[in-house]
Amino acid sequence: MTKTYHLLTGLHFALCTLAMIWPGALIANRIEPTVLGLPFLFFWYILWMLVLFAGMWVAFVVRHGGGRHD
């Protein structure tokens, strides 16, 4: 795999981690607006769980799509 690939996956992981702890979660530390009935901070965590999943899915397809095993 290329350097760019590793850099991008690494960045994705770092971004998702930082979004869920200090300082990333600071910007979401409020109740309004509520989304899907959830306070914003609660929604924020649900959202980033999904972002983490989506990014890993892309990384997986790029690296292992079509049954590649490297």
Binding site: M20, I21, A25, G37, P39, M49, F60
Partner: protein, 486 residues
């Protein structure tokens, strides 16, 4: 009394079902060590997903997560954060562990450490620490099962009997079917947990408040501080963040997680499991609803123990039929049993493979090693059961202490996987300093800035490893790579 009988009936049916699946999962290769321990190294995506999920979702997650939401409020999102971050470690480390294991025949953490650093005693040490951490952890699952049974049946099934019932089932299928039994039962129990958690979470907020959104608006009116950090109890960001990091990235050092990497049929499978892993964390979302629902319900008379909030809500507040209570008990037992099965299995393997094989069982045949492992499953489960009956207060301390030590193996394991230039002396010095610092901060002093002690200990650990590497390089002048034996 009839209500309790219905609860007991449903739960016993569930236990029998799990036992049947577990016993039937017995594969043909169970007589080989690799088959019994690692499912012959060809466990596929679905089963591995549920095994790795079940290991994290213990009785503690099922009862503790709503407990945190009830007691602290927003800091309970810590659990969502760390669970969804666990797969990063699986992604980065798992495939390498799996391929090394396949090449060199490793089955435990100790195998890899002992071989890479050419030190049998290091492997034995890792094994001893592993058993010391796993047995109290297993005890907690068994005690959890006993408490659940007793509470949900209004004492019809007492603590000792409930704990015994649940863990006789577990010990029986782990004894017979090894990892295959664990895999198939974890699949059933995982689905059970998810279904029950969502059902309970949604119906409790519906019954009490008329919906999730309505529930949060009411909490916002009366106790808004629960819904944002630092929560109702004022947990600071430093502790929150460092606890997430230690749990998410140190968690993979637990032997029962780490050893599952060996069982994957390929690195690709492990990566696929990690892609889907954050979705498993959604299981906890409805459990958090239940905890939040408890905030207003118990506002006037706070619960003495916050981790009883799920039981109290289901049994006393929401007015469910005994059928639902029976299902709730089954789901909560599923959480305790699916984790417990992995713990008993792993503790037995680590004991026999890392501790006994290089010492008292030198040169034993594969067959006798498998046999010893099986009997150790029963022996260690029995010990854990007796511990649960005695309920020594020092148990949690032992668990915390041993877990702190396990996390400090991180640089050592990273060295064996990716950094061949790290020498034995450096990683040992790092682990020693890190462990000592962790124990001191956890039990004697308090941790600086209120951070999780594991982070400070890890920083020290890494600093010592780095310093030792530099010192060794200047003194031995270029012999740095000699420590790596190929």
């Amino acid at each position: 009394m009839t209500d309790s009988l219905i609860v007991v009936g449903i739960t016993l049916t569930y236990l029998l079902g799990v036992l049947w699946v577990g016993l039937r999962a017995r594969g043909q290769e169970n007589s080989s060590l690799e088959g019994y321990v690692a499912g012959g190294r060809h466990v596929g995506v679905v089963i591995l997903f549920f095994i790795l999920g079940a290991e994290i979702f213990s009785a503690f997650a099922f009862l503790g997560a709503p407990g945190w939401a009830y007691q602290h409020g927003a800091p309970a999102f810590y659990i969502l954060a760390y669970l969804s971050l666990v797969p990063i470690t699986i992604w980065a480390m798992g495939p390498r562990v799996a391929s090394l294991g396949r090449q060199k025949g490793y089955l435990t953490q100790g195998d890899m450490i002992a071989d890479h650093y050419q030190s049998r005693s290091l492997g034995i040490l890792a094994g001893v620490i592993g058993v010391l951490a796993l047995v109290p952890y297993l005890t907690i699952q068994i005690a959890g099962a006993g408490l659940l049974f007793q509470a949900a049946t209004d004492g019809l099934i007492p603590f000792w009997l409930g704990a015994l019932l649940a863990f006789v089932v577990v010990a029986a299928y782990v004894f017979t079917s090894g990892l295959n039994g664990i895999g198939w039962t974890n699949l059933i129990q995982g689905i059970m947990m998810i279904a029950i958690a969502w059902f309970l979470g949604l119906s409790i907020s519906e019954r009490l408040y008329g919906g999730v959104g309505e529930m949060f608006s009411q909490i916002q009116l009366t106790m808004p501080e629960s819904l944002t950090m630092p929560g109702a109890t004022g947990m600071n960001w430093g502790y929150f963040s460092t606890a997430v990091l230690v749990s998410a990235f140190g968690g993979a050092m637990w032997p029962h997680l780490f050893m599952k990497f060996y069982s994957a049929d390929s690195g690709r499978t492990l990566r696929k499991v990690s892609v889907f892993y954050p979705l498993y964390a959604y299981l906890l979302v409805p459990l958090l609803f239940i905890g939040f629902a408890g905030i207003l319900v118990f506002a006037d008379e706070p619960l003495v123990r916050s981790d009883t909030v799920l039981l109290r809500m289901v049994m006393d507040v929401a007015n469910f039929s005994p059928w639902v209570i029976g299902l709730m008990l089954s789901g909560a037992l599923a959480a305790a049993m699916s984790t417990g099965a992995n713990l008993a299995h792993t503790a037995a393997i680590v004991l026999v493979r890392d501790v006994m094989s290089p010492t008292v069982m030198k040169g034993a045949s594969e067959q006798s090693v498998v046999k010893a492992t099986r009997w150790s499953v029963l022996g260690l489960s029995l010990i854990a059961y007796l511990f649960a009956l005695a309920n020594p207060a020092s148990l949690v301390l032992l668990l915390l202490g041993a877990y702190g030590l396990i996390v400090q193996l991180f640089p050592m394991v990273l060295g064996a996987l990716f950094l061949p230039q790290l020498r034995r002396a450096s990683v040992m010095a790092g682990a020693l300093v890190g462990s000592l610092a962790y124990l001191l901060m956890d039990f004697v002093w308090s941790s600086p800035l209120g951070w999780h002690a594991g982070v400070w200990a890890m920083l020290l650990n890494v600093a010592v490893v780095g310093a030792w590497q530099l010192l060794g390089r200047t003194s031995r002048d270029g012999q740095a790579l000699a420590g790596k034996s190929v």
